[in-house]
């Protein structure tokens, strides 16, 4: 008992995955709300798909994969930034092309890289149970930083989401806020890939936000409820994964989808 009550907890192998996933979901929900409000769902998807190419490059260049992932996500986000100002249809098509061709290029390059064994399934569908203490520390740092930035710039981010023109006239630095949001999004996408994988990462952004929508009257409420819905999804998904020996990432997404369906049943749900 000299180690205190907390000591036995750290002996549980599931604790680090649980903490990492829950913390991440606490920030994907709020960022996902902005993704939904700004109709950027496809953008998050493209970042995630493009990230596989980043991993491949990281493998070939033999650098830390999390670093390679983060750099490629942020780089791709900044490259795609000008697309946001274009018309909707053409940018959707272009994002689709970038999204799938980077994913495919990443897969092809990975198979060509001789003698390198990478857990491809882990990247595609997430490998939450493989996260380590160093991952957890990285996630804690990133989540705290993003949460601080978001609450600091909340007013400007929301104003420029409602109307970029009115925000600009009011003196908000709209372009800088766009870049801030997209870089935060890229960081979270890079980190969330560990949890749910490339193919499911935008689910963790969008489903909790959609769940929160039908229960919220204000943007702040929606952001907080989205964080809560995301955290519950991770906990429920992990529990289900242990219980029935299902893959953790998809179980988290299935739980999130289940919560979404339940939120639709709420009789007092806010008219959309």
């Amino acid at each position: 008992m000299t180690d205190g009550l907390m000591a036995p907890l750290f002996n549980h192998w599931w604790l680090i995955p649980l903490l990492t996933g829950t913390l991440l979901a606490a920030i994907t929900g709020p960022l996902g709300s902005f993704v939904v409000w700004r109709r950027m769902a496809f953008f998050g998807d493209t970042l995630a798909h493009g990230a596989l190419l980043g991993i491949t490059l990281g493998v070939i260049a033999d650098i830390n994969l999390t670093l390679a992932l983060t750099i490629s996500c942020v780089g791709l986000a900044l490259l795609l930034l000008p697309l946001q100002n274009r018309s909707r249809i053409s940018s959707d098509t272009l994002l689709g092309i970038v999204s799938h061709s980077t994913l495919a290029t990443g897969l092809v390059a990975l198979s060509l890289a001789d003698g390198i064994r990478v857990d491809l399934m882990g990247y595609l569908f997430g490998d939450l149970l493989a996260v380590e203490l160093s991952d957890l520390l990285l996630v804690v740092t990133a989540v705290l930083a993003i949460a601080a930035l978001m609450s600091w710039q909340w007013h400007g981010l929301l104003a420029s989401t409602v109307s970029p023109e009115l925000a600009a006239i009011d003196g908000h630095p709209v372009k800088a806020l766009n870049i801030l949001l997209i870089v935060m999004l890229a960081l979270v996408v890079a980190l969330a890939m560990k949890v749910v994988g490339i193919l499911l990462v935008s689910a963790l952004l969008i489903i909790p936000a959609a769940t929160a929508r039908s229960l919220s009257q204000t943007p702040a409420q929606m952001v907080l409820l989205a964080a809560l819905a995301g955290m519950l999804s991770v906990m429920g998904g992990l529990w289900a994964s242990f219980q029935w020996d299902t893959p953790a990432g998809p179980s988290v997404v299935v739980t999130a989808a289940g919560l979404f369906v339940i939120s639709l049943l709420n009789p007092k749900r806010v008219q959309q």
Binding site: R39, H155, A159, V162, E165, L166, I169, S216, Q217, Q271
Partner: protein
Amino acid sequence: MTETLLSADQLSLKRAHKQVLDNISLRIDSGRIITLIGPNGCGKSTLIKVLLGLEQADRGRIHRSPGLRVGYMPQKLSLDQRLPLTVDGLLKLAKGADNQAITNWLQRLSIEHLRHQSVHGLSGGEWQRVLLARALLIRPQLLVLDEPVQGVDVQGQMELYQLIPTLRDELGCAVLMVSHDLHLVMAATDEVICLNGHVCCSGHPDQVSIDPAYLQLFGSQPAIAHYTHHHDHHHCLDGHIATGTETNGEHSHD
């Protein structure tokens, strides 16, 4: 005492090989109501954006009096349905918004009952008033109104145009507005600038409405006359649009 709040000198802007703005100069003095009018795609909205500093002109200069407070009422906001927002929440995002000011303007525009409603349920006319309230919150020295919200009936537009001179007197501000129909704004405006890339004609609304350049531009446009003729003149619609001025009282006196 009048002062010049904003002046533009020989603005030009080319977009995709089209001369959107061609050598446009104008001056906005305090207390004046100026209406921009012109056919679709004539550069009205672009000119507004350039004057507000949202877009850059290729050539020309804009001078604003230092610290100018501008209230801008856009045509409409394209808000995603999934953004939960009440009228109160929308107004609180505006610069200079405090509770007292919001209450005052909502009362003044008779939309106090909308304050805690979701913006997604608002009708066209209600949206118009909410956006106007938002523009008024900073007590603007220059109020810029883009064309009224789409889907507002003519009655609602008339009410707004009657309100504008009153607001101008209360705030002592200048008003720059965009309109598609001169006759709706005739009584409420001091000066009309008729735009078609370049300034076709400008001056007092009575003068502009008989200006050959104005008549040439709008005589060929299927404006309100189109609808009034529609019921009984199907067979000769084209002819009536071409000379479609007889339904408007103002014109028959010319």
